[in-house]
Symmetry: C2
DNA sequence: CCTAAACTGTTTATGTCGTCAGCAGTAGGC
DNA sequence: GCCTACTGCTGACGACATAAACAGTTTAGG
């Protein structure tokens, strides 16, 4: 168990919070003031510190006071830079997304598989480095920052040589993040502290109810859940690429 | 915005909470007492009420006191049936999973595509009916209940005719829930209340930064994000099935 | 039958959280 | 130099999960 991640909104408003506020924040589109004392912080620095805290202690550990404490200021000071916690989490996501993937020179048609592969691997790396991303992005209707858009743009660009239309490219993109996120969740589970204990209990439970789950029992006997050197990410990626290839091939 | 979902664990222990407790709860493996007053509730009924509340008002609205209030008892009464909120959420998930998918008669080899398709559609239906499932299952190291296992078992069974080995079947299963969850998230986003407002703001933002996201701009002009009658679930499913087919075909 | 143990639900209390309101100090523009 | 926009702070509030102690209820065992 330990550190299960979670984000709440609490209270009741949040409905009144202006969508434009967080967008302006994400896109850096707000005029900064000239008068008054020099600000000690910036939204960026706050988000970076919060992300680091989440890396270290999980998303649950990210509270306004803890983040503020890291800067030696009071919790309420943060509200001068960030409308609320929800927005802070979105800034954290954006922060951690980095500058986007580094893509190989696309070149000719045949190389699109490599490009998509590169995109997927790098995206998976981000999720692996920041397990809380999974929970943080499981919220509804997140605001899109420029960095998230850059990732999306890169994926769509990599898919251009396939000749798929825009809608199809977008759907392939959805398949890819779905894969990445799912593999990330799997890995996060496995790296959990008491993972071995849970596995043992589950195995025991399954053994006692084997007849209720014949296919599962058979699959386990056949090597499921045993690490076999094949990365689930690579396997899934190959399946998706093959599937895309089938569409292309079937059409021309 | 409104009702963003979230689950927390709070306090600090939870590390001390016995994994066997929640497993016994999920599997109904606890001897019930004979002495003392008749219990007013059961874990099942509590979980069902909590799930209904989550359906109506979102996972955030599920608090111990609200759930207890629905039964006319105090919040602390629930702790006689459930170790804590974390475990309640796991019971909610299990509750909502139902009896598992109804699978067609598998019959001969050729029908496995239909079986997998049926599984995926039904799984997607569950997620569509209970949007909070996405958040509730985004936690780390969830305990597996019999119903979740039944879904897993059914998927693996549907994949048996493919001739894939156990590890591969498991990986295909991962691809499938990845797809289902991702599509569910997409749809939840779209059904959000102020969805149109967000779309408008995003479009405006993108128009102003079009040159930074050429592929995205092109894709949108090419019909991405426009509903075109093709269900993203079906599209993804076809790609995955084609990918699986490619493995089978390539091997024999 | 009667008592003690097991079990029920309740009240009270603690600590953490996000966030509102109001304050005192600061610094640039007039 | 003063007004004003800004800073960060303290205090308060309500919601939450949950620990602890208690009072009432049922049944098993003598």
């Amino acid at each position: 168990m330990v550190e299960r991640d979670g984000v709440r909104s609490k209270g009741q408003q949040d409905e009144t919070r202006d969508p434009r506020a967080v967008l302006a924040l994400l896109w850096g589109e707000q005029e900064q003031p000239t008068r008054g004392p020099k600000p000690k912080l910036t939204p960026r620095r706050i988000a970076a510190a919060a992300a680091e805290l989440a890396d270290r202690e999980g998303l649950d550990a990210v509270s306004m006071s803890k983040v503020a404490g890291g800067f030696g200021v009071s919790a309420m000071a943060l509200y001068r830079y960030v409308p609320g916690k929800t927005e802070l989490v979105e800034l954290m996501v954006e922060e951690v997304m980095g500058e986007g993937p580094e893509m190989p020179e696309s070149g000719e048609d045949g190389r699109w598989r490599e490009a998509v592969r590169a995109w997927t691997r790098q995206c998976a790396d981000v999720y692996a480095a920041h397990p809380w991303l999974l929970t943080a992005t499981a919220l509804r209707r997140r605001a899109l920052g420029p960095r998230q858009l850059r990732w999306l743009d890169a994926a769509l660009a990599a898919l251009e040589p396939t000749g798929l239309d825009g809608a199809q490219r977008h759907r392939v993109f959805l398949l890819l993040i779905g894969l990445v996120r799912n593999v990330a969740q799997q890995q996060a589970d496995h790296e959990e502290e008491q993972s071995a204990e849970w596995d043992r209990l589950a195995a025991d439970l399954l053994a006692r109810h084997a007849e209720r789950f014949p296919a599962l029992t058979k699959a386990i006997a056949d090597g499921a859940f045993q690490p076999d050197g094949i990365d689930p990410l690579e396997f899934g990626l190959d399946r998706i690429l093959d599937g895309v290839e089938a569409v292309i091939g079937g059409r021309e």
